[in-house]
Subunit: 348 residues, 2 copies
């Protein structure tokens, strides 16, 4: 072995050692994530993962879609609520409450209903009407608050304290991260050769969950989080390595909109994310339009963040193989038609 | 055992015996269909099957979706072309030709490209531009003819004869039926308790394939084929128990439009279909709109036939559990936006 090869070998070993060390420091554990899979209704697992060549000429890179919308709640969130609800059904209180922009609430309502749990969802009065309708239809109690998701979080915590019922806190409760992380297992098991994964960043369950698994099992894959410029708190926090809050938000990507990152989640994110980027609203709308017209997929704004990130920085991704997680499709039809109509006018 | 019970038992046995007899007479064989699964890239198998409660209030029945659009060719057709192409790759000519309205051609191009086959697709000059673009992008030779799919079928047959290359005839070639039939295996394996399956009817591969498996393994499930009133040849043939051709067609459901049913396929269809119904164009458009707005799914017109059938006869399905196969999502964006826009105006 020549000196260069030896040196390279040493560097590689050191790099692997460092990475293992890094991964062990997150709150997540790959064995626990594998165990979490067994608690999840198979209807939410092993979702489609496929290359979408029709998107590639305009994006300039190889694009694979991980599709989390073809299930009874039209988002990835049930992976986490299935873990929570199965634990409660086995051994816990029969009542559970969460704050939600809509997808977590819908998923918890679905998982709770099938296990006879008493589910309460607290949401903003301005949340997506379609999401709120689905929560009601799934037999959950719905309490609406004036204010945004942060106000809803406070109200949910108060309800839990007063009633002695289980509070599910998205991204803080490890089950929500472990459920999301099962997507990571499916990514690394079936597509070993992609270069980067684009993950919608909100509270951080999806990013830390998938990021943990990818860094543990496919460490050369770049983990890139994408957040709207109009709701940048977690990205600012990641960049400054400390919690940064914002006073307001302005984005159509309701599913990832938050103002107060959770310290424990940020700590995990700092270990698994290679980058966090911010995208403009116009790019999110363009991404939704492209997913509809070129891929035949309905994406809610949060689910188009990955495409938006490619659109804003084609050079970065040129010639690489990128996986983007299409994480939800719950849209208000009127707003959706407006958005994709605007995307068509803009690109025609 | 009382007389009534004995009598019922005898009737049941007789019914089962008759059904087994019936199933054995089709050209399909369940063991061969199970074997066909092994030839198909797993990316096309085990597609999402889930209840879509948001559709139910307006349809008045329990609705499950079998989704065949979340794959690289956005339709179920690759299940069949994978079987054909894997046989050719193992032991056959390296060149293959088919006529197609677009989905079969796209699927054959995909399956052929991954196995190094030389694929030619013959299509009508008036076929969906999006489908033709995808065929070209998948490196297939594309020959356009003046006239409809029946003219394209004649031309493909001539090319095959002249060039000594393999002609793939949709629905006649047993591999196309066996591939489609693997959907049936997934239906009966995972949802044992549904009451009816709604299947788009064109040439008949999907209907005879799925119908064979359902009648063999879940004989109490009603197999209902759905065709547009504007392209009714196969339905007329099924009803009259003889091949009925038509001189023209007028439907937006390009994927199921044909004028000359194939006798061998009709024979199979007569054995496995419990009913064949015709639906209006307005119902197809309404079905596409409902799938988009209530289920977040893009369906091409042929894939909305099942919803159209429920819309036209709610009483028939009231309270029952119906599975509809959403068999493709390849639409021209401009036409699609027109259609779903029209559906919204109509229902608002």
């Amino acid at each position: 072995m020549g000196l260069d090869a030896l040196s390279l070998g040493l560097r590689t070993q050191k790099s692997v050692a460092l990475r293992c060390c890094v991964v062990q420091e997150t709150r997540l554990d790959t064995a626990r994530i594998r165990a979490a899979r067994t608690a999840i209704d198979p209807i939410f697992l092993d979702t489609p993962l496929y290359r979408c060549e029709a998107l590639e000429p305009v994006l300039g890179c190889t694009v694979s879609i991980k599709l989390e919308t073809a299930n009874p709640v039209r988002s990835f969130k049930a992976r986490g609520t299935e873990v929570v609800a199965s634990q409660l059904a086995d051994n816990g209180p029969r009542a559970v409450v969460c704050a939600s922009a809509g997808n977590l609430g819908q998923a918890l309502a679905w998982s709770g209903r099938s296990r006879g749990l008493d589910v309460t969802v607290v949401a903003s009065r301005s949340a997506s009407a379609a999401k709120l309708d689905r929560i009601r239809a799934l037999d959950a109690k719905l309490e609406l608050v004036d204010g945004d998701i942060e106000v809803a979080r406070e109200r949910a915590a108060a309800l839990a304290l007063d009633g002695g019922i289980r509070l599910v806190e998205d991204s803080l409760d490890i089950e929500t991260c472990e459920g999301a992380a099962t997507i990571g297992l499916e990514l690394v098991d079936t597509v070993p050769s992609f270069d980067a994964v684009l993950i919608a960043l909100g509270g951080g369950a999806l990013a830390t969950g998938v990021g943990h698994v990818v860094k543990a099992l496919a460490p050369d894959v770049e983990v890139i989080c994408v957040q709207p410029l109009g709701a940048p708190a977690t990205t600012y926090s990641w960049r400054q390595r400390r919690v940064v809050t914002t006073d307001s938000m302005d984005t159509i990507a309701d599913g990832v909109a938050g103002r107060r990152p959770i310290p424990e989640v940020l700590d995990d994110l700092l270990l698994v994310a290679d980058d966090a980027v911010l995208v403009q609203e116009a790019s999110i709308i363009a991404g939704m339009g492209m997913l509809l017209d070129h891929a035949g997929l309905v994406a809610e704004p949060s689910a188009a963040l990955g495409i938006a990130a490619i659109l804003e920085d084609r050079d970065r991704f040129a010639g690489r193989h990128v996986v983007t997680i299409v994480c939800g499709s719950n849209v208000d039809p009127d707003a959706y038609h407006r958005w994709v109509g605007a995307a068509r006018i803009h690109t025609s």
